[in-house]
Each structure stands twice: as structure tokens, then as C-alpha cells.
Amino acid sequence: MRTMTASFARLARLVLACTILFAPIIMSGPAHAQEHERQPLVADLSRHLVAITTGFAGTDVLLFGATDEPGDVVLVVRGPNRDEIVRRKVRLGGMIWANGPAVTLHDVPAFYRVAANRPLEEIMSPAARERHQIGDDVLNLRMSGDVAPEDRAEFREALVRLKESRDLYTVGPGEVNMLANRLFRTELHFPANVPTGTYMVEVYLVRDGEVVSAEITPLIISKVGIGADIFQFAHEQSALYGIAAIIIAVFAGWLAGVAFRKK
């Protein structure tokens, strides 16, 4: 039942997103100048590709935009989905702490960040937040594992807490700066350990607790340069990579040995 509502919510979100994305295309035509005025929300990123190079130590991407009339701006950044296993430690023989029961959470956003111009609770009702999946407390996370249903909430909270401690989840208000009630901007921070993949940056315009407009912009985070080549090599031709690693090590060791003798 829960998954049903979850997929409905997802579907609703998708439909809304598509409508908003394609609305300008459908409606563009003879009344172009008029349409331009009517667009309630525009937003863009300072760049659409974050390159993880050898010197990468985290980065900021600027998000900026404007609204047609005053309203609240809520921003959600979602990383690529993946499965995460959360394990609870148990005490073995009254001595050692070891990983015990485990739960797999499916399709968890690897990165999740919510920002708004004022506290979320003041902007939207929990129902509206749930509908649009805004806030880590309302995220629909499917779970499977050998844990009783009543204990699952604990694992869910742990996932959010662990993600937060790694700077991968943040839900903070007041980080979107409004200028003259019309323009907005915010810096999106991506830490050094940011997972790679395609991100979705969603901007919502909210009036009277309801989303009146939304815009979705993709952001790609990927390894480039030598680091990317090494990663690809290691994963796609792992046998060759292993041999290369050994050859490098033998050569380096031999070089050091020879250098040492000359001294």
C-alpha cells in the first residue's frame, strides 16, 4: 500500500515536472513575447558539469533565478539513486562489537539537499512536502531485510544521520537568498566525497503552501582526466590493471634498490 502511494507520488511529480518542462515548448508560438512575461519561474546553474579532477576537494555551484511575483523558493538537489545497506552493531559474547542485522534501502538518493528562503515548515504543509518529496523525513525509501517492521524506522533514521555526517544530506532553511522578492540565488556545495552521476536540481515556487511552478535542471558530476581513466581501467580491464599495478611497484622498488646501492 505504501509503495502504491509512493509510486503515485512519484508519477505525480513526474507529470508535474514534464508539464512544466514542456509547457514553454507547447505554448511557444505566435504569442512569444506574451509568454515570456507569463513564465512564473526561471532558474539556472552557473555550470552543468562538475568535473572531479585530480585536485578536486569539493566545489560550489551557483544557482540563480527569478520569479514573476513574490513567493517562496524551495530547492532540492537529488543525486543518482542506489541501494544502501545499513547495519546495526551488536555485542558478541559481551565483548566485541560486530555488525548485526542489516536492512537494504532501495533507490536511495546518493546525495540529497534541500534549501529554502525560510524554514520549510513555514512554507509548506507536510502533505505537500510528501507529495513533492521535499525533506529527508518524507523521502519514500523502500526497505528489505531481516528486521522487524517496527525497527525499520530506526534504520531509516540511521541512514539519514550517516549521510548527514558525511555531508551528503543536508536540509537547511534560509540558504536561498531573495533579492527584492523576485530574484534568488544560492551556492550549492558539493563535498570532496560527492558521488558521481547525474543529479537533478529542482526549484519549486511555492505560494500559500502549494507548488505553483517548478523547474528541473540536470547537473552532471563526473570524474575527468587521469583519475577517470584510472577508475575506468581498474573496473573495465581489472586483470590488466592488476598486472600494471604490479609492474609499476616492481619497477619502483627496483629503482629504489639501485639508487640505494649507489649511495
Binding site: 560486530a98 534501502l105 550517516l162 592488476g242 616492481v250
Partner: protein, 308 residues
Amino acid sequence: MQIYLPIAEMSVNVFLILGMGGAIGFLSGLFGVGGGFLMTPLLIFIGVPPAVAVGTEANQIVASSVSGVLAHWRRGNVDIKMGVVLLIGGLIGSFLGVILFKFLRSLGQIDLAISLSYVFFLGIIGSLMFLESLNSIFKSRRSGGAPAKRGGHRHSWIHGLPFKMRFRKSKLYISAILPLAVGVIVGVLAAIMGVGGGFVMVPAMIYLLGMPTQVVIGTSLFQIIFVTANTTFLQATMNQTVDVVLALLLLVAAVVGAQIGAKFGAKLKAEQLRILLAIMVLAVCAKLGFDMMSTPTEFFTMGIGGKH
């Protein structure tokens, strides 16, 4: 200056890694040990995923063993026949070890397995070494500086085993099962703990096999090269956990550190060195043991599930 490690998928300070490599290299030069048993826990401590720490450290040990074995080779202190027998055992062991590693990782118990094996082996070897070197310090004081005699030929059930082989350089005529078994055990450890296994093999060669001390280090280094090379290959193909960038950084610093350490080591007495090493081994053991038993601040851990 930050550098992004492509396999560990994290950003680290270059100077921190170089400093760690240099410091461990210094200690390994000082004591004549590989240093893997110190480096792997240290890498895990700074946040490198345990699986990557183990795979990468195996790769680094290949290099440090190659540079170490050259000097012993020139002096003729490598018993190749013994090395090959140990190696056969080692290859079997490291193959079993990597499979075990993969299995434990899927169960989510690899961190515990790594810590437990460290505490167990470091505890035993540290205490033995500590007691033995204390003993020899007291003996040498009493008898006026004469070095304590070790090894010797003891006759026990060990000499009754079949498949006897003659090892000329080690002046031994013993069953091949013995070095083979030592090799297997060390191979498993090398794969799970990310160490060369010298700290287990050297005492085993001296006390269990009764090899003369001067060929022990060279022979163990000779064997370690191949076992860690095999471990590197298996970890790279089965787990994709060898980070060459990290290995190279550690390597460069460790080579320099080892030379400085070796010069310092020449100024200290063997017993003093051994007792210092024993204290260090016991300290690492105590730290890991304490971490395992103390109540954690976070009761949950997170790992990536199925690949997408």
C-alpha cells in the same frame, strides 16, 4: 594540497599521505619489517575504505620488498628453494584469503575480521618478542655482553613428518609440509590484513622451522614479493580495490623514510630495536582491541548495496 584518489573515491592531503609513508618507511627501515601491519590500520584510520587500504597496501609492499630483497640477494642471503616452497603455500593461501575476503565483505564483517586478525597476531607476536628481547637483555647483562643464542636443533614431532626436503642454504633437512603450511597461513593473512606477513613469517621461520637468522629476512622478502603481487592481482580483479595513485604516493615517501630509518637502526643495539618494535606492535594491538570492545558512538554503519 589535496589529491583525489580515483579508486578510494576520496580526497586526501598529499602531505599527510607522504608523511605517513615516510614515517612508516622510517620505522620499517629501523626495524627491518615491512610496515604493512602499521600502514593498513593507519589508512583505515584516516578514512580510506578498509577494502581499498588492504588492496593498496599489498601493492605497496611489492615495491618495498623488491627494494629490500636486492641487498640480501647480493649478499647471498636468499634461500630460493625454501622461498619457493613457502611461495607455493603463500599462493594457495592468498587465493583462499581473497575469496574469504570477498565473502566476509558480502556479509558486512570484513572490518571486524581485519581488526580481529590484527589484534590476535599482533598480540601474540608483540608479547613473544617483548618477553624474548627482555630476556636477552637481562642475559647479556649477566654474562657480560655475550649475545643470547637462538634457534638450535630441537627434535620433536615436527621432525617426524613425511616429505622431507634438504634446504642447503638454511642447513635444514625438514618436511616440506612445514614451510608449506607456514606459507598458506601467511598468504591468508596477507590477503585479509593487507600485510606482507613478514611479522608472522620471520618468527615462524626462526622458531618453528629453525632457519639461521641471516637468511630469514632475505628469504621472507623474496617470498613476500610474489605473495603480495598475487594478492594485488586478485584484489584488483575480484574486488577492484587497488588504488595505484595512493600506492605510488606511499611508496615514494616510504623508500626515502626507509633509508633514513636504516641509518638510524645501525646505531641501535638489536635487543633495543626488538623491544621498541615489540612495544609498537603491542600499542597498535591495544588500540585496535580497545576500539573493538568500547561502546561505539554510532551503532549503525552504511555500505553500498547492489550496483546500479
